[in-house]
């Protein structure tokens, strides 16, 4: 049999045989359906995770170190850091003075306040006190208006730059520039709107589009500076290795804190890499759980398909005998049954893929942006066929080896 065209014929034969037993075939493929649903959903989730990570991580410059009281990713070591002293604005100034090479040292702190425009109020909005140097340590820029400048900071002006979501939800299409926004009990003048940045919510991080930037000086004055902890974003000089620069920053911080050589750091250095670690951890869990479910379901499904194929071969022993009597070679019989099991699995796979579109829709609505992509569908179809071939092989092999006369005599 010429192979391609022979395969096509075998597919036709297999389909004709399947049509008679569709219901049974679909029932046994439940495992395949769940397995494919799991594999597509896992890959879609991983994809969405990776995208939302890239989106939110891109806001944080790769050449920026963050000096903070605790590491971003604490992982249950919370008590270890509880007694560390706060990072203060004074320390930020000292650090800037001592780190000549740094492009910028930007202190920032945050709190939560309700914000109000007209009759619209949003509670628990992240208010971030920062300086004009925010523009140097983050890649996000205002899409409308401007960020505050050195003068705004120095003069403790009551100006603010709002996130895209705040703009959309509170101003409902109105131009917010120069409008008054109530932050807590105080009036601020909106001078800019940040571009859309996405959310790090999937990693327990903030929604970057629902925050309000105010000058750190104003922030301290109105919301209190005593006992407040700051983060220092340090932008490394161009060309410096971030690892080397980290040592320099640690050294200067230890000097500022007057730590003895035998004392541990009482602050932490964070960078995008730490986020990457967190991301990888989440990713690992998603993949592990997804693959486990996929593996188990596909195994169970595969065993089911193997079983149905054994039944099919036994039931059709006489048919196999007839086919052999009129000249079917072993290969033709093997191909016929392999195709049959592949088609069963493909049918299950197709149902699984259809269901995973619904699953992706749910993930998209509840967790993070996610959509089933064409390559993922391709992989899923490939996996279905592979399971079909693996599960169908032994029954198909057995069918192909049947002795013609014994098969023909079978009742």
């Amino acid at each position: 049999m010429s192979s391609l065209h022979g395969t096509f014929e075998a597919a036709r034969i297999a389909l004709a045989a399947l049509r008679a037993n569709t219901a049974r075939g679909v029932l046994t493929t439940l495992g395949i359906i769940i397995g494919i649903l799991a594999v597509v959903t896992t890959m879609t989730a991983a994809n969405g995770l990776s995208n939302s990570f890239k989106e939110s991580a891109s806001v944080i410059g790769a050449d920026v170190l963050f000096v903070s009281r605790t590491p971003w990713i604490v992982m249950g070591r919370f008590f270890q850091f509880r007694n560390r002293p706060n990072l203060t604005l004074k320390e930020a100034e000292k650090l800037e003075r001592q780190l000549h090479s740094a492009i910028a040292v930007n202190p920032s702190s945050e709190t939560q306040r309700p914000v109000k425009f007209g009759n619209e109020t949003r509670d628990n909005i992240r208010i971030i006190g920062t300086t004009h140097k925010q523009m140097l340590v983050s890649s996000a820029v205002p899409e409308q208006g401007r960020f505050f400048n050195a003068y705004d900071v120095q003069a403790k002006r009551r100006v603010c730059v709002i996130g895209k979501t705040i703009h959309e939800q509170l101003f409902e299409g109105l131009d917010p520039i120069n409008k008054n926004l109530k932050v807590g009990r105080y009036d601020f003048q909106v001078i800019g709107v940040m571009e859309k940045q996405g959310s790090a919510g999937t990693f327990g991080g903030p929604d970057f589009d629902s925050q309000v930037f105010v000058p750190v000086t104003t922030f301290v004055k109105l919301f209190g500076g005593f006992n407040r902890n700051f983060d220092f974003a340090v932008k490394a000089p161009a060309g410096a290795s971030l690892e080397d620069y980290e040592f320099e920053v640690i050294g200067e911080m230890r000097k500022i804190r007057r730590l003895h050589p035998n004392q541990e750091d009482d602050f932490a250095i964070n960078k995008m890499e730490s986020l990457l670690d967190a991301f990888n951890n989440v990713m690992r869990v998603v993949l592990l759980v997804g693959l486990a479910i996929t593996g188990i379901s596909l195994f169970v499904g595969g065993v089911g398909v193997m079983n149905i194929m054994f039944v099919s071969v036994t039931e059709r022993t006489k048919e196999i005998g007839i086919r052999k009597a009129i000249g079917a070679k072993r290969r033709a019989i093997l191909t016929q049954f392999l195709l049959e099991s592949s088609v069963i699995c493909l049918a299950g796979g197709a149902i699984g893929i259809a269901l995973s579109f619904a699953a992706a829709e749910a993930i998209d609505r509840l967790l993070m942006p996610a959509s089933v992509s064409l390559p993922i569908v391709g992989v899923a179809l490939g996996v279905s066929v592979l399971v079909g071939i693996v599960a169908g092989f032994i029954p198909a092999w057995r069918a192909s080896r049947l002795n013609p006369i014994d098969a023909l005599r079978y009742e």
């Binding site: 052999k324 009129i326 079917a328 070679k329 013609p404 006369i405």
Partner: protein
């Protein structure tokens, strides 16, 4: 295609007891012969046909096709012989129940690896030659016994085999229908095919030119019919 059996034995093992179905059968079959095999039930007729049709192998002795020992053939070679050198017609038709008539007749051509257009041409010609052109879309269970046997004959001759083997082809048919089937065999033989058929009926055997009688796995007689000679 010439066939030769040399001292062919076939023994079935049943509960450690050997059943001797054939006990040293020898004969020659030249091209374009018309042979009837007769004999009482259990005398080994079907066993013999299965061996000649390459569906089964002798326990001992030799079976030669055009001088070549079949026992040296591999599985694929045997499949090829069954596919294009031999056409088998069974007492119980042995059609694929779920496939329509056209597909049943087309199947040997598929296994031969022919393209669809050529298959259609040959299958239609074979179906027409047994007078069932208007039934190609029907399933076997929508046909009468005689029609089913004609489908089986169309399937057997679609690859233009040298020999057609028919094991009691009229056994499940009434006399009139059986006569129709025999007319087809007569025609095929006149066109140059060999026909080897098993029958219990003298009326059917009368179509053949030579009659081989088996008894207890042995050739009892092998003679050219007087009328035919």
């Amino acid at each position: 295609m010439a066939l030769e059996l040399r001292d062919v034995n076939k023994t079935y093992e049943m509960n450690h007891v050997g059943v001797h179905a054939l006990r040293g059968v020898s004969f020659l079959l030249a091209e374009n012969e018309y042979v009837a095999i007769m004999g009482p039930s259990g005398s080994g007729k079907s066993t013999l046909m299965n061996i000649i049709g390459c569906l089964d192998v002798p326990s001992s002795g030799q079976y030669l096709i055009d001088g070549q020992d079949v026992s040296t053939f591999g599985e694929d070679r045997l499949a090829e012989v069954r596919n294009s050198k031999i056409g088998f017609v069974f007492q119980t038709f042995n059609l694929l129940p779920r496939a329509d008539i056209f597909h049943n007749v087309e199947l040997p051509l598929i296994y031969r690896g022919l393209r669809p257009a050529r298959r259609r041409e040959l299958a239609m010609a074979a179906i027409e030659s047994v007078g069932l052109a208007d039934r190609i879309k029907h399933k076997p269970n929508e046909l009468s016994g005689g029609q089913r046997q004609r489908v089986a004959i169309a399937r057997a001759l679609v690859n233009d085999p040298s020999i057609i083997l028919a094991d009691e082809p009229t056994g499940n048919l009434d006399t009139a229908t059986g006569a129709e089937i025999m007319a087809i065999f007569d025609e095929l033989q006149a066109k140059g095919n060999s026909i080897l058929l098993v029958t219990h009926e003298e009326d059917v055997a009368r179509h053949a030119h030579r009659v081989i009688r088996l008894r207890d796995g042995l050739v009892e007689s092998d003679a050219v019919r007087r009328e035919a000679a």
